[in-house]
C-alpha cells in the first residue's frame, strides 16, 4: 500500500507532495530511532532543561533526557497508534460494512442503529472512562480508539456494497452460482479496498490526535512516551509558564504533532480526490 501511495504521489499537487515527504521523514525517524538519536530516550543524559544546541540538538527535559531522542521514539508510538488503530478500525468496520450491506435485514438494522449511536456519542468522555477503567496500556489505547473509528469505514463499505450489489455483473455472477466468498474476493473487496485504504490515512490522523489528547490528560501509556505525553509532562511542570523552557520542551513535540497531522490530512485529501472526484472539493 505504501508503494501505491508513493506511486500515486507523482500525481499529487504541491501540498500533497509536501505531506507525503513529511510522513516519509517521520517514518524514517521512527524506524531509525536507535541510530539517529545520539542520546538514550529514557534515561538522563545531561543536565536538566538545557536549551537546544550543544550536545542536545533540541535540548533536554526536567530529568535531563534528550528531547530529540524522545521525539524520535515518540514518532514510533504515534505511528503505531495511528496505523494500528486505522488498521483495526478498517478491518472491523469493513467487516461490519460487508455483513451489513451484503446481508441486509436485521444485522443491517442493528449495525445501522449502532452507527447512529456512535455518531452522536461524544467520543472523548467515553474514551476517558474506558482508559481509566481498563488501564493505560498502548494496546488498550489502540483498542479504545479503534472502537470509535470503525464507524467511518463501516459506512463507506456498506454504501459501496449496497451500490455494487445492485450492479448487473454481480447478479449475473450469482446466476452462475457464485458464492459469497467468490463475490467478496472477486468483486466486492477490489471495489471497496481503495476507498477504505484512503479512509485509513484519515483515521490514523484522527487516532494520533486522539492519542495525543488522552496522553495530554495523563491517560497515555506511561511506558511508551508519545509526543502527547511529552506535552503532558511539560505542561505539568510547575514553572513552565514563567520560564523559557516551553520554547523547546513544549514547542518541538507540539510542532511534530501539528506537522504530522496536517501532512496526513493533505495526503488523504489528495487521495480522496483521486479515488472519488466527487469528494474532492
Amino acid at each position: 500500500m505504501l508503494v501505491k501511495i508513493v506511486e500515486g504521489g507523482k500525481e499529487f499537487s504541491l501540498p500533497g507532495k509536501a505531506g507525503l515527504a513529511v510522513i516519509l521523514v517521520v517514518l524514517l525517524a521512527a524506524i531509525l530511532a536507535p541510530y539517529i538519536s545520539i542520546h538514550p530516550h529514557n534515561i538522563s543524559s545531561g543536565p536538566p532543561l538545557v536549551p537546544p544546541g550543544g550536545g542536545h540538538p533540541l535540548g533536554t527535559d526536567e530529568l535531563g533526557i534528550d528531547l530529540w531522542a524522545q521525539l524520535c521514539y515518540g514518532a514510533r508510538v504515534s505511528l503505531l497508534v495511528g496505523f494500528g488503530t486505522a488498521l483495526l478500525a478498517a478491518l472491523g468496520g469493513g467487516l461490519i460494512g460487508i455483513v451489513s450491506g451484503y446481508l441486509g435485514g436485521w444485522p443491517d438494522k442493528v449495525f445501522m442503529r449502532l452507527i447512529d449511536i456512535m455518531i452522536v456519542l461524544p467520543d472523548l468522555p467515553v474514551m476517558i472512562v474506558l482508559a481509566a477503567f481498563f488501564g493505560p496500556s498502548l494496546l488498550n489505547i489502540i483498542f479504545v480508539l479503534a472502537l470509535f473509528s470503525w464507524v467511518f469505514p463501516a459506512r463507506i463499505v456498506r454504501s459501496q456494497i449496497l451500490m455494487v450489489k445492485e450492479r448487473s455483473y454481480i447478479k449475473s455472477a450469482e446466476t452462475y452460482g457464485a458464492g459469497v466468498w467468490y463475490l467478496l474476493g472477486k468483486h466486492f473487496l477490489p471495489e471497496v479496498f481503495p476507498l477504505v485504504a484512503v479512509n485509513m490515512i484519515r483515521l490514523s490522523g484522527r487516532a494520533i490526535v486522539a492519542e495525543a489528547g488522552l496522553s495530554f490528560l495523563g491517560l497515555g501509556d506511561p511506558t511508551s512516551k508519545s509526543w502527547g505525553l511529552i506535552i503532558h509532562h511539560a505542561t505539568n511542570f510547575k514553572g513552565i509558564y514563567y520560564t523559557d523552557f516551553w520554547k523547546w520542551w513544549l514547542l518541538y513535540p507540539w510542532l511534530a504533532l501539528i506537522i504530522m497531522v496536517i501532512s496526513l490530512a493533505l495526503i488523504s485529501r489528495e487521495l480522496e480526490r483521486m479515488v472519488d472526484p466527487r469528494l474532492g472539493r
Partner: protein, 324 residues
C-alpha cells in the same frame, strides 16, 4: 424512541464498566513512568465496595443502580466529600458556557466565511480562505489552546493563565464581574472556535456553492428580487440545512475538544473535573460526569431533530437527518 434506547445503552454500559475491569479494580493507577501502586486508602476501598455493592447479585445491583439514577443520585465523591450530582451541577455551567460560545461563534463566522467564499468562488478571497482554513481545520483544539496560552497568556500576559474567574476578587458591579469572566473565557473559547472554524467553513462553502447553482436561485434572480433577499431568504435558508445538522452532530467531538481545552487552561468545567477525578480514582465522579455529558449531547441531538423539522418542510414524520 431512538434516544431513550441510546440513553439506556449508555446507562447500562456505565453500570457494567467498573465490574468488567480486569483484575483488582482498585489496583490500577495511571502514575508516572509505569509504576503500579495501590494508593487507595482503606476508607476508599470500603466505600467503593459498598457503593458498587459488589457483594450482592448483579441483577439486584443493576436495579438499585437504576433506581438511584432516577432519583438523580449519582453517588458520593469521597475525594471532594460531596454528592457527585452537586459537584457536577456546580461545574456544568462553565462547560456549557464554553461549548455554547464556541458553537455560536464558529458556526456564525464559519457560515459567513464559507458563504463569502462560495459567492466569490475562484476569486482571490476564496482561494486564500480555502487554503488557510483547510490547514486550520486539521489542528486539534487543545494544541491550538496551548499556542494561545503560551503566546497571549504566558508570553504577552494579556490573559489570565488559568481559571474561569479571578479568585477572591470583589467586583464593584455585575458587569465588571462579567468582564472578568469573559476575560478568562476568551482564550479557551477562541481555541475551540478556531479549531472548529475550518470544518464549518468547508461545509458552508460546499453547501452554499451547491445552492447557488440550483434552479430555484435562477428563478429568484429572474423575479428581480433585491440581492439581499436572494442571499438570505433563498440561498442561505437552504444552505443552512446541512449546517444545522452538522452543528449538532459534531457536538460530541466539540465536547471532547472542550474537555481537553479546559485542561489546557485549567478551566473549572466538567472536563477539568473529570481529569482530576480520574487522577484521584474517584470513580463515581468519573462515571457521573460521563453520564451527564453524554446525556446532554444526546438531548441536544434530539433538539436538533425538532429544529430541523421546522426548517425543512420536506422532512415529514420520519427522522431523515442522519441518512448519509
Amino acid at each position: 424512541m431512538e434516544y431513550l434506547f441510546t440513553i439506556w445503552v449508555l446507562v447500562t454500559l456505565n453500570f457494567f464498566l467498573p465490574r468488567a475491569m480486569p483484575g483488582d479494580p482498585f489496583l490500577y493507577l495511571s502514575a508516572d513512568e509505569g509504576q503500579e501502586v495501590a494508593r487507595f486508602s482503606e476508607e476508599q476501598r470500603q466505600y467503593y465496595l459498598e457503593y458498587y455493592g459488589l457483594d450482592r447479585p448483579v441483577a439486584g445491583q443493576y436495579l438499585s443502580y437504576l433506581a438511584d439514577l432516577l432519583r438523580g443520585d449519582l453517588g458520593y465523591s469521597l475525594y471532594y466529600n460531596e454528592p457527585v450530582s452537586a459537584i457536577i451541577l456546580r461545574r456544568l455551567p462553565w462547560t456549557t458556557f464554553l461549548v455554547m460560545a464556541a458553537v455560536l461563534l464558529s458556526t456564525v463566522s464559519g457560515t459567513i466565511l464559507g458563504s463569502l467564499s462560495a459567492w466569490y468562488r475562484e476569486k482571490l478571497l476564496d482561494k486564500l480562505l480555502f487554503f488557510h482554513l483547510i490547514l486550520l481545520s486539521e489542528v486539534p483544539a487543545f494544541l491550538l489552546g496551548l499556542v494561545l496560552l503560551f503566546t497571549f497568556a504566558a508570553g504577552l500576559g494579556l490573559f489570565p493563565l488559568s481559571g474561569a474567574i479571578t479568585h477572591f476578587a470583589s467586583y464593584s458591579s455585575w458587569w465588571e464581574k462579567l468582564l472578568d469572566i469573559l476575560h478568562h473565557a476568551f482564550l479557551p473559547v477562541m481555541a475551540l472556535t478556531i479549531a472548529r472554524l475550518g470544518g464549518m467553513y468547508l461545509l458552508s462553502r460546499n453547501s452554499m456553492t451547491t445552492v447557488l447553482e440550483k434552479d430555484y436561485l435562477r428563478t429568484a434572480w429572474a423575479k428581480g428580487l433585491p440581492q439581499k433577499r436572494i442571499i438570505f431568504r433563498h440561498a442561505l435558508r437552504n444552505a443552512l440545512l446541512p449546517i444545522v445538522t452538522r452543528v449538532f452532530l459534531s457536538l460530541g467531538s466539540l465536547v471532547g475538544g472542550a474537555i481537553l481545552v479546559e485542561n489546557v487552561f485549567a478551566y473549572p468545567g466538567l472536563g477539568h473535573l473529570m481529569r482530576e477525578a480520574v487522577m484521584v480514582h474517584d470513580y463515581p465522579l468519573v462515571q457521573g460526569i460521563f453520564l451527564v455529558v453524554t446525556i446532554c449531547v444526546l438531548l441536544a441531538n434530539f433538539l436538533a431533530d425538532l429544529v430541523y423539522r421546522k426548517l425543512d418542510p420536506r422532512i415529514g414524520d420520519y427522522s431523515g437527518i442522519r441518512g448519509g
